[in-house]
């Protein structure tokens, strides 16, 4: 589905997650963040950059554990930055797919 975010056309799925990570930039991130009630700080952006880098390298969105153990961000802090559902919110703002729940 094609929508307009931060003044440009962007493809999203039914839950609003970007389907092409290449259409992301920081202006899109700010708009996505605002949509879920977040104002992005440098600290948010540092996490988001890790999520995007890890996704680019591995082709899957990182789990909370991975953002913590590989990215070096404390889980407790991630819950403050992205309240209640950090794994989902980080991916949403970073423009990468919702993490696979590993059924």
């Amino acid at each position: 589905m094609l929508v307009t975010i931060a003044g440009r056309p962007v493809h999203v799925n039914e839950e609003g997650f970007l389907t092409d990570a290449g259409e992301w930039d920081e202006a899109v991130a700010a708009a996505l963040a605002a949509d879920i009630g977040l104002t992005l700080s440098d600290e948010h952006l540092a996490v988001i950059r890790f999520v995007r880098r890890d996704f680019a390298e591995r082709g899957t969105s990182p789990t909370l554990r991975r953002v913590s153990s590989v990215g070096g961000f404390e889980i407790k802090r991630l819950f403050v930055l992205f309240p209640k559902k950090p794994a989902k919110k980080m991916s949403y703002v970073a423009g990468v797919p919702k993490p696979i729940g590993c059924v």
């Binding site: 789990t63 909370l64 554990r65 590989v70 889980i75 407790k76 819950f79 729940g101 590993c102 059924v103």
Partner: protein, 412 residues
């Protein structure tokens, strides 16, 4: 003489040697299987131990019984793999050189990864049921449980058999009803997921089954520690769930030697190609079963289907041909729901669990995503199939489910 070395003689390792030994010439290939002990556990059977349906003898048999002629079973600890030198060092100091390596050492519950879990309440009011010892201790705790808050808890995905915590609750509900004490027990499911299960339709159905039974669902709960004194789970965002009896599914991690050998991800699972189960790092290293990082359930059925693909591919691989088969992530699992019924789920990388019929001459059809007594019979039949058919590498007489309009291929 070439050497195929298989680490781990559980489901995946045993199925692998049984599938490959008849297909690799005895005078060309030596096959060695290594495990630390001689006990093969039927892990799906642990679920039935707390409620007294199964005993130790139902789930433990000697490994050697399932190892074919022409495969050497070595009982030793595994210390380290050196993938550059193509050697594996064992606990005794022995070093085994290999041409091809299969890592099949599974994944294991690690209660030590959650602060407070291994406190004084461990195996008293804090339990797990993913080891034989844990399941037996829980059976004892249930026998003397007089009521209160029974909390089933999932620490983190991925875990072996993701539906097992739900099955535990369904069986607990039935168990307390039978004992005439259901009113004295509050049943709660605490999960880091945003619902009862990961995929939407199955999550909705399973959430409905929890609700029908009066089981409360506490979702998006990522545990930080167990407060042993207050008997409560505490999350990173400072929510608390009190319990009288906690049955947690600890963080699952691959074997420590996988990490020591530089082959593991953050949970010590071996990162592999999802269609060939071959290591991304080393062309002669494969990881099968729960030891790998496939984006699908860690389940015996996934192991079975993926080992079949691996065995076909292995013959191509050792003859220098491209591997022609691709694993599609097929998994099916019976979800025990108590009262002699079960639900059957069937899915793969592309297709989440859906309702439908699942044909099986003689017993079936099973009904997908619905509770039926036939599904329960299928679940119980599985123990027999496991010991007598699956481990020995014989084809599972369960076809793939039909989904949507496209008839699915039937496993020959």
């Amino acid at each position: 003489m070439k050497h195929l070395l298989v680490l781990g003689a559980g489901s995946a390792g045993t199925m692998t040697v049984n599938a490959l030994r008849p297909r690799l010439a005895q005078d060309e290939w030596r096959i060695t299987l290594v495990d630390r002990d001689d006990e093969h556990h039927y892990q799906p059977g642990y679920l039935f131990i707390p409620f007294g349906h199964y005993r130790r003898d139902d789930v433990v048999k000697p490994r050697g019984r399932f190892v074919p002629e022409g495969v050497e079973l070595v009982l030793d600890e595994i210390d380290r793999i050196d993938p550059q030198a193509c050697t594996v060092s064992l606990g005794s100091g022995a070093v085994l050189a290999y041409d091809e390596l299969v890592i099949a050492t599974g994944t294991a519950p690690r209660p030590d990864q959650t602060p407070g879990m291994l406190g004084p309440e461990w195996r008293r009011s804090v339990h797990e049921f993913y080891t034989l010892e844990g399941a037996l201790a829980l059976a004892e705790a249930l026998r003397t449980f007089e009521g209160g808050r029974f909390v089933a808890h999932l620490c983190e995905m991925p875990i072996k058999c993701p539906v097992a915590p739900l099955e535990l609750l369904f069986l607990a509900d039935a168990h307390f009803r039978e004992r005439g004490m259901r009113d004295a027990v509050e049943l709660v499911y605490v999960t880091p997921l945003d619902g009862a299960f990961t995929t939407p339709l199955a999550a909705e159905r399973l959430a409905g089954m929890l609700e029908q039974r009066g089981i409360a669902l506490e979702s998006d709960f990522v545990v930080e520690h167990v407060d042993d004194d207050a008997k409560a789970l505490v999350s990173y965002d400072e929510r608390r769930v009190a319990f009288d009896l906690l049955v947690s599914v600890p963080v699952n991690m691959g074997a420590d030697f996988v990490a020591r050998s530089g082959l593991g991800d953050e949970l010590q699972h071996v990162s592999v190609d999802p269609h060939t189960m071959r290591s991304h790092q080393h062309a002669n290293v494969f990881a099968l079963g729960d030891a790998n990082d496939l984006p699908i359930s860690k389940a015996g059925s996934a192991t079975h289907y993926s080992v079949e693909v691996f065995a076909d591919n292995f013959l191509d691989h050792v003859q220098g041909r491209p591997m022609r088969s691709a694993f599609d992530g097929h998994v099916n699992c019976f979800v025990e729901t108590g009262g002699g019924k079960a639900v059957l789920l069937d899915f793969d990388y592309q297709t989440p669990p859906q309702p439908g019929r699942y044909p099986l001459p003689g017993i079936g059809p099973f009904t997908l995503l619905e509770e039926t007594a036939t599904n329960h019979a299928g679940k119980l039949m599985f123990k027999w199939l496991y010991w007598h058919v699956l481990l020995k590498g014989r084809a599972l007489p369960l076809p793939k489910a039909r989904r949507g309009n496209a008839p699915r291929e039937v496993i020959p």
